[in-house]
Symmetry: C2
Subunit: 224 residues, 2 copies
């Protein structure tokens, strides 16, 4: 397995990384509106927006060491698209002690009065943290633990956010342009999307008089 140091550059504004030097492995994960069914509170607004087109809500560019990725993905247009079902398989090939990293770009917009956001997830290995560094835009990180805790932190350029172990996290774009950030997390963390898909987050971020407000999620379900 190749294990020499790599670099890549993040162009701003924008946030799309160059490919690693000397390689062509850059994974792009795209989440269209259709991948978020059931995640927005206003389901009528969701269906109405979807009827207008399956707009892209956010993109994730993740760096993988080439040999980890090559077996599962195909190169297209200079980057690589990976299907959801292969992410966990690819994760399993990254060693303990490695760090997965890349950029996320959350586009601006709203479904009803709820801002465009990421799916949000717990790490499969709950006791793993994540570090974010905001490069561009404005937003909120909505977080909660399997216990009674929740937190919402503002995201703005130059800010580092530390998500400790056990905290599910979802980024929300509350600005006019793209929200772009760098992320780093332990390679063995994995992604548990199912818990959030089933019960949602305790808190939503919605627009009230043009400003973001944190409100209770009326459809939130307590974890067993």
């Amino acid at each position: 397995m190749r294990s020499t140091p790599f670099t890549f550059d993040i162009s701003l504004p924008g946030g799309v990384p160059t490919v690693y030097d000397g390689t062509d492995v850059l994974i792009r994960i795209v989440r269209p509106l259709s991948a978020m069914r059931g995640q927005y509170a206003d389901q009528e607004a969701y269906e109405a927006l979807l009827a207008q087109g399956d707009t892209i809500l956010y993109e994730v560019y993740e760096m993988r060491r080439p040999q980890v990725a090559d077996e599962y993905i195909e190169i297209a247009d200079g980057y690589i698209e990976i299907a959801d079902e292969y992410i966990e398989v690819a994760d399993a090939h990254v060693g303990l002690g490695e760090l997965l990293h890349g950029t996320s770009i959350v586009h601006p917009g709203k479904v009803g009065d709820e801002y465009f956001m990421t799916k949000g997830h717990f790490h499969s290995v709950l006791d793993t943290a994540e570090v974010y560094y905001v490069l561009q835009g404005r937003g909120m990180m909505v977080m909660e633990t399997p216990e009674e805790e929740w937190a919402v932190k503002e995201l703005r350029p130059g800010r580092v956010l530390y998500v400790p172990p056990r905290w599910a996290h979802r980024s929300v774009n509350t600005g006019q342009g793209d929200l772009v950030f760098l992320f780093v997390y332990p390679a063995h963390a994995g992604h548990d999307y199912g818990t959030i898909e089933t019960r949602g987050f305790r808190k939503l971020v919605v627009a009230r008089d043009g400003q973001p407000h944190i409100v209770d999620n009326p459809r939130w379900c307590a974890q067993e």
Copy 2:
């Protein structure tokens, strides 16, 4: 142990982080010239420069969760200074799956024709990686494994560098101003400074006609 999400802001130019929101824990590690005896090839130039004053070569601001730090360090001037001998003790109190992170500021200058640089180290747990994001300045990361490999990568603003497991790393400021970067590494990695102090890096970065050049280290000692 406190385990709620934290944020801090990195002001640029400069690179000194604000303290965590709601806390006052920001560790500052300062490396003066006197801490680098034997690390520069031109020992005569080193002693001559030191005779003029014990100038600070670089500073590291590292974020620690408050309860990890409070037992070992004292607050002074709004940040916390930690003595070398307590770093490993503090490290041992951070859990597997957490990420240590912060900024490094390497000041510009030369000892003879060799640029100001960090001590450089292996991680005590060799199989742990590190991610860097360059915020300001110009430089090089000099890296090598316990085996025959070495690599030098250019550092410039907007660039991410992935240091895979097993690679010792030293940052070198080849520019006119401060070199500032964000770093993230697994909390259980630890620091092995001794190996590099004893045998040095295979490669040095020196100024030739005002430009950085990579040259062999004439005093490098092969590892047993």
